[in-house]
């Protein structure tokens, strides 16, 4: 599809699964991952309140900076990585084409 982009999920080191994602539905990365049966609970439904959608961004295009609510939540986690993000706060957009992430739990 014309509006589709590709997101890659690193399931094990060096092992990436390609997901095709529409960009015209206002989906978040969390919703895409859940729809593809990744073990993401998303208890708060995408409100940056539960941190159960934590991912590590490994490579790909630059993303918009996280907002305060996301940073507050990431602050509470025991481990974060350089590329830690809440996937519910990342909108799928033509600019996010080629993003590589890992489920951080």
């Amino acid at each position: 599809m014309e509006n589709d982009i590709r997101i890659y999920v690193e399931e094990a080191p060096g092992q990436r699964r390609e997901l095709e994602a529409p960009t015209d539905m206002g989906l978040s990365l969390m919703e895409l991952l859940k729809a593809n049966d990744y073990p993401i609970q998303a208890a708060c439904g995408g409100m940056a309140l539960c941190a159960t959608c934590h991912v590590e961004v490994l490579a790909g295009p630059a993303l918009p900076e996280p907002q305060d609510a996301e940073l507050d939540m990431l602050e509470t986690l025991p481990h974060v990585y350089e590329g830690s993000r809440l996937s519910c706060q990342i909108r799928l957009h033509p600019h996010t084409d080629g993003l590589v992430v890992r489920i951080a739990g």
Binding site: Q41, A43, L49, C50, L71, E75, L77, P78, H79, V80
Partner: protein
């Protein structure tokens, strides 16, 4: 000796739905005991969104989640429910006479005539940091994921880890209780409530607590009981500190947990129920609120309230198969008490 409690209905989960079930059971003159893995009632409302307004509770154009829980607690007061908080129900057994025996993580036993599972998304479990030997010192040997009884730390040396509100709040509180408090945080700033962060800073400046930033607790040491922790800076420099207790506070995350192993019919981590009375595949065991599933299920507080009302009718029939209950409105009876 285990702590043994005897009641009519044992409600597993003190979320909004479990709490309202106490009210509905009370109207039928059934006694309730409520158990929750969390130290305070309210389930998701207290743990995830206490300050968020809710708009879809009948009669409340707007109510904060935390206030709704306070109101539910007030509403059930006349029925004198009893509570076991901070303990998770691990096992349940159905006895030959049709009653049940439930066992918690801390050895509490509950004997009851019916069980209402109102476990929501599951029990809230602490997020654990990656620290060597952590599990070895759980269970009263020095690692505490919750502060249930601050007095336990009186005069003790404690290390708290975390950068969220609960780490800040407990650091401030325990500064006056423990003999020594060290707060370890992997970052350099605190993004929790500004006034708690400020208080921590002031206590640190006054020499009342130790603050170790850009660092993590990386190792625990001890012989049977925790005796020392190693704190490693982001620069790789490590320091070993003697202590009595390590309190990692990194928030809680819901996990279905033991409910999944009770032999009840499950579908996608939810308990299948009969919508006639929200009974499960085990007679006498009911499931209400977010934990259950049936065609058309909506995970809403309102729907859980409705399920609680029907469930109690079913539980009454299970407990008293020969008694007939004639429905009276609360306006006829007033709010009866037990």
């Amino acid at each position: 000796m285990p702590n043994v409690i005897s009641t009519d209905i044992c409600i597993v989960g003190a979320g909004p739905v479990g709490l309202f079930a106490v009210f509905e059971a009370g109207l039928l003159k059934l006694r309730c005991h409520v158990v929750d893995a969390l130290a305070q009632p309210g389930g998701q409302l207290t743990e995830i969104y206490p300050k968020k307004p809710i708009y879809d509770i009948p009669g409340f154009p707007e109510v904060l989640a935390g206030d709704l829980v306070d109101n539910l607690m007030k509403q059930i007061e006349p029925f004198h429910p009893t509570f076991t908080m901070g303990e998770r129900v691990e096992r349940f057994a159905k006895l030959d006479d049709g009653t049940f025996q439930l066992y918690t993580t801390d050895g509490t036993e509950i004997q009851c005539k019916a069980v209402a599972i109102a476990g929501g998304l599951g029990s809230f479990e602490p997020r654990k940091p990656a620290v060597e030997n952590l599990e070895r010192f759980e269970g009263g040997k020095g690692v505490h994921y919750m502060v249930r009884d601050p007095e336990r730390f009186r005069g003790k040396k404690i290390v708290i880890a975390g950068g969220g509100d609960s780490a800040l709040d407990w650091t401030n509180f325990l500064a006056n209780v423990a003999s020594e408090v060290t707060l370890v945080h992997r970052g350099t700033t605190f993004r929790g409530a500004a006034d708690s962060a400020e208080k921590v800073q002031k206590l640190h400046e006054a020499g009342k607590i130790k603050l170790v930033l850009s660092s993590n607790v990386t190792h625990l040491h001890g012989n049977g009981h925790l005796q020392e922790v190693t704190i490693t800076g982001n620069d790789g420099v490590a320091e070993t500190v003697p202590l009595d207790a390590f309190v990692p506070l990194f928030g809680l995350t819901p996990k279905l947990g033991p409910i999944g192993e009770w032999g009840l019919g499950l579908e996608n981590d939810a308990v299948k129920v009969n919508t006639l009375d929200y009974s499960t595949s085990t007679p006498g065991v009911f499931a209400i609120g977010d934990i259950n599933t049936y065609p058309g299920k909506l995970k809403l507080i309102l729907c859980g309230f409705h399920e609680a009302a029907l469930m109690c009718q079913g539980a009454f029939k299970y407990i008293y198969p020969d008694k007939k209950y004639t429905l009276k409105y609360t306006t006829v009876n007033g709010v009866p008490t037990l």
